[in-house]
Amino acid sequence: MSQRQIIQVFEQYQKSRFQFVQTVADLALRPQNIEILQNAGVMSLLRPLMLDVVPSIQQTAALALGRLADHSDDLAEAVVKEDILPQLVQSLASQNRFYKKAAAFVLRSVAKHSPELSQAVVACGGVDALVLCLEEFDPGVKEAAAWALGYIARHNASLSQSVVDAGAVPLLVLCLLEPEMALKRIAASTLSDISKHTPELSQTVVDVGAIAHLAQMILNPDAKLKRQVFSALSQISKHSVSLAEMVIEADIFPAAVACLKDPDDYVRKNVTTLMREVVKHTPELSQVIVNCGGMAAVIDYLGECRGNLRLPGIMMLGYVAAHSENLAMAVILSKGVPQLALCLSEEHEHHIKAATAWSIGQIGHHTPEHAKAVATSDLLTKLLELYMDASSSEDLQAKSKKALKSILQKCTYLPGLEPLLYDVPSNILKYVVCQFSKVLPNDSKARRLFVTSGGLKKVQEIDAEPGSSLQEHINAINSCFPEEIVRYYSPGYSEVLLERLENYQPA
């Protein structure tokens, strides 16, 4: 055979290999093909192709592998078991940028499924190789490497620590400064994943000066970037007071409030999460946010969104109100209580309702003014309903009971308390009656109202053990009224009168 014909054989083989790899890569895009491919033993076929002579076949094989591992964690585990990772990592150092992108993609799809797989990636030196990739010029390679590091760091603190130990953080901050939007997004998301676990990791991220750069990107028009930036800032600030103060010192606050009107839902949710994380530490930080009008913006935001998106906003209101009665009054003035009442009635998820009940309790428990504000929005009956409802989860019942108790102990608004005399368990009833016994001796109009609205009648009907505090309160109430009235309203008085009538002999 002539030389040309022999070379043609090789050409043919190469063409068919390339076609195979290309087709597998395209098929791997659809989830329904994955099972079939797996059963056909695609892993063991792709593995030698990754060591192929022709670079394009290597790259396409890596791409196909990455897509396969992306879809299911059995395949990802198979990638780990077949020892493909060490050779990927080795070739990461030496090959061209397309291969690096594909290899980083494979590492990312393996690492995303579970901490054990990420640990396997770390164990074969993947993190160091990825950090080397972060120093490349090509933005696509940097993006793929940063994404992979982000998925590794997401699972738990020790994996994040290994990412940080490999020196990824300064390089990630440099990536934040690059002009490519996708790279910025991924870098911000990776910083967020790293700093979410422990305060030390957040401190490492802050020490590199990430906060200033993240703060600059707050008003960027790209919505996904803003999501990640706010998520990163909230993960940093959630750990300790000093970190939260550093985030505030970067002057994000009046500007970030504008992002609460962003059309993207998750940007708004992340801004609210950031506010919540900052606010929960100290009253001074809450004061900063309240003073720049953040409260009003969050309350409007609560009015506009639905479902789980409301949760950070509700918790933020609760944390602000919990610090001091000034701040709680600020929440009330910003029309927070009607909004929370709406949330309570519209939402069906128990954890959101529990958070709302907790926030209401934090607002109402400071002084009688606050309790009155809560009672006028008819929230006491709603809280009672939630407590009594058998289908509420335990957490919801516990929180609504606690909120109800703490508000009742300060409530002196009698028209709000009256509905609570009817159909109420005795442990709540004793607080209600206690409040009545405190207010009635001093206020004659209230006494009149109490009698005419049927409250006195109800109190007489209450059955309490003698000597219990409930009985004492009832006695205290009864002593505010003349004997005849008390006797008139006591149960069974009509029978007593009729009996007297029967025994009466006209003279």
């Binding site: 022709v54 061209n96 409030v257 003073n291 720049c292 009008g293 600020a330």
Partner: protein, 328 residues
Amino acid sequence: MAELLKIKSEVEEFKKEYFYRNSQAEENRQREYQAANRIQSWFRASKVRAYLSHLHKKAIIIQRIWRGFTARARFRQMVKAAYFIMKMNFYEEMAVRIQKRWRGFFVRKYIHNYYARKSYLEGLSRKNELVRMELAELEELQKRERDCVEMVKEQTAKVYQAHRLHHLLSTKQCPGVFNSPFRPAPHEMELLLRQVKYQAPARLDPRGRACLMGMLGPTDHSFPGTLGSPWIKTTGTCSSKPILPPISSKKQQGLLREPGEVWEQRMLCPDLTLRLQTSYTHLEEAQNQLRHKYIRLPTGKLGTGSMLHHLSHSSNSFTQPAYAKSFR
């Protein structure tokens, strides 16, 4: 003689008398002794009693005087102490009054300042109103911008469609699809078609070249030598004609920036220039200096090393592009 007899008889009597008196004295002696004893003892006792009572009286006088003295001193002290206590009570009461007023004032003015709280809450409501208004305006603005962008996109899409469908323009002979004779007025598409200026389509070659480059991309710079040319031949579809760049595009060549960018950089960082921070002849001057220095201290090793060190300082100004990007 008679006298003698008388004396002799008297002697007998005398003797008798003497004996009688002696015996009487003897008898009385005891009694008198005891009586004398008694008298003496009584007298001595009286003497002693007188002395003792004298002593007692004097002692009483001394004690009286002394006790009076100490009691008066103590009393004076007590009076002083009582006076002091009275004064202190008075002062304390007055201090309590002052502190009461001061604390009430201080707490009401600085700690639980009702008016400050009221004005704070009022200010807060005003700020909230303001923020709500501003946010509403911002939202409105953003929405308008987005709507604008949408509209512009729609319009360009329509114009593009009109470009593609230029052949549906109605002619004098034959009314087009969008200009049906049964309509009262032509369709907007028809009007667009009339407005759009016909442009000859750009040549397909640049697009073909683009797809060729795309395919070549992954197989960048590492062709195995033996399979070089046949590989290109089998994948390239239109590689026969020589492809020239289009004439009419006005793309700038090279690293030139827009004038606006350069101006911005100059405004933002005025000390960023392309000129050297050091003078043009810095190198020669430095070399001369070193030569003068090394004439004095002949150590050969330091020569080139430190010169390079000096030289590297002057090359700072050339690392601008990296910083320039971050200033944008």
